[in-house]
């Protein structure tokens, strides 16, 4: 008897995005593999030095085969490549039909400004403001039970407030980064500090940290200490930076869009995909083989859904970041303007904690740590993780949450 085919969930899951690019990458990778076997022994620079020894070992093995065995190996490679391509598709199918839905955030809306909300996680702890990136949803700071920095801090005496940027509304469509800082973050910070009756800690993640730096430079009197998590600052040519290489392509692409159209999510997702075009094949094949009832499977679905549920980026912000940040390195050169004035980290007097994960491909550690030399009262922390794994991965508690919590509790600097 045939089992009923699982239905696609009527949910926000639309990924992996852009679907066509993920399918194309997998197809390119696995369709070309059988032809690659015949080139194993080449020394023309095709094999990266990191895998050259394995390529040489396999070349020796291949050369030692007789014609019949070589044909058998060729057939096995063709079969294996096809199986990997199929497993990738099974993984995507399993993801799109997986029943897991992330529990709704247990927070109330404390303040709403335009398309943005200030979420209050409640309790009677020390109020704390958390600022996520504009690019992906806020809830990476509260992904799911056991994988939530906000819940971790709430359980330890804090009352987190998180900025939910939402979709850019009519007002935000014309926002530059400075407007996000002055017209959204400053009122949100004042609200949280008003509840506390004193300056409050602020945590900024990724681009949210860059905005938090400007916030601290403009409204530092309301901030007791500032934590920056994987926050890009220095976009200098000398640093490895995937985004810097991709930014000109996106900037060129934007010139072909209608004048006020926000930068589409899929354009940004194409960048994330291109950081490692073999990644989605690996992870969806792994998911295909996973126990779908396990926490690991739910975590995978939660992460993928988060990664694929971003909002489009307001056009002026996109232009400012792609050209002003990635091309001209305005933050790193202390030329970034917010509210008509340069954002100078030297104006920030509160203690600052800068976390730069060692394996971050999106915000290289050197870019995050580029702010340190400009700050009067800062210290660094280097979690052994990637850009997102640092926040929600299996080592997040020991690698980030606990050290951050300890720093938040520390007296003075």
């Amino acid at each position: 008897m045939t089992e009923p085919r699982p239905h696609l969930k009527p949910s926000a899951i639309r990924g992996p995005r852009p679907m066509a690019l993920h399918l194309q990458n997998s197809l390119t990778l696995w369709q070309t593999a059988p032809g690659g076997l015949a080139r194993l022994g080449t020394k023309n620079g095709f094999w990266h030095p990191a895998v050259a020894a394995e390529a040489a070992a396999l070349a020796d093995a291949f050369a030692g085969l007789d014609d019949t065995a070589q044909a058998a190996l060729q057939a096995a490679v063709e079969t294996g490549a096809g199986a990997r391509a199929q497993a990738f598709l099974r993984g995507i199918n399993a993801y799109l039909t997986h029943p897991y839905t992330r529990p709704e955030t247990q927070a109330s809306v404390a303040l709403r400004l335009g398309g943005a909300e200030l979420l209050d996680y409640g309790g009677d702890g020390q109020p704390l403001l958390m600022i996520p990136s504009l690019i992906n949803p806020y809830y990476i700071l509260d992904l799911k039970p056991g994988r939530s920095l906000a819940a971790y801090l709430k359980a330890r005496g804090f009352r987190p407030f998180i900025v939910n940027w939402g979709e850019p509304g009519a007002a935000e469509q014309g926002f530059e980064t400075g407007a996000y800082v002055m017209e959204r973050l400053v009122p949100f910070l004042r609200h949280v500090a008003g509840i506390a009756g004193a300056p409050v800690p602020v945590i900024g993640n990724c681009m949210g940290g860059t905005l938090a730096l400007a916030l601290a430079a403009r409204a530092g009197g309301h901030i007791s200490r500032l934590a920056l998590l994987a926050t890009p600052w220095d976009f200098a040519d000398s640093l490895p930076h995937a985004g810097r290489k991709y930014a000109p392509m996106l900037a060129e692409f934007m010139t072909r869009l209608p004048e006020t159209m926000p930068l589409p999510v899929d354009a940004l997702q194409s960048f994330f995909t291109s950081v490692d075009p073999s990644l989605s094949s690996r992870k969806f094949r792994r998911f295909a083989a996973m126990d779908k009832t396990s926490e690991a499977a739910e975590f995978f679905v939660a992460m993928e859904t988060w990664a694929n549920t971003g909002a489009p980026l307001a056009r002026p912000v996109a232009e400012e970041c792609l050209v002003g940040w990635y091309r001209n390195n305005k933050p790193g050169r202390i030329e970034w303007q917010v509210d008509g004035r340069t954002v100078n980290p030297a104006d920030i007097t509160c203690p600052v904690w800068v976390a730069g994960p060692t394996e971050d491909r999106l915000v290289p550690q050197a870019s995050a740590f580029g702010i340190l030399k400009h700050l009067k009262n800062a210290e660094s922390h280097a979690p052994g993780a990637g850009h997102v794994g640092m926040l929600v991965g299996s080592k997040a508690e020991s690698g980030l949450w606990a050290p951050l919590h300890a720093w938040l509790l520390r007296e003075g600097s």
């Binding site: 990778l29 032809g35 076997l37 194993l40 990191a50 070992a57 490679v77 995937a242 490692d276």
Partner: protein, 60 residues
Amino acid sequence: MRLHSEVRMTDTEDMTALAERFLDLWQDNVRAWAAERDLLTPEDLADLLKDHIQTGGGHD
């Protein structure tokens, strides 16, 4: 993992293992180049692998 010299070439199971090793290598090579060059766009990926679409047979 066994060394290639230990592989008995007539064994289907060994051929499958060797093929999987090659496919891992193929994938890891793309990953390594993506890291080295910061990123590989779809065009970069096709450029990297295109010789292998066109090349048939012959082990050089």
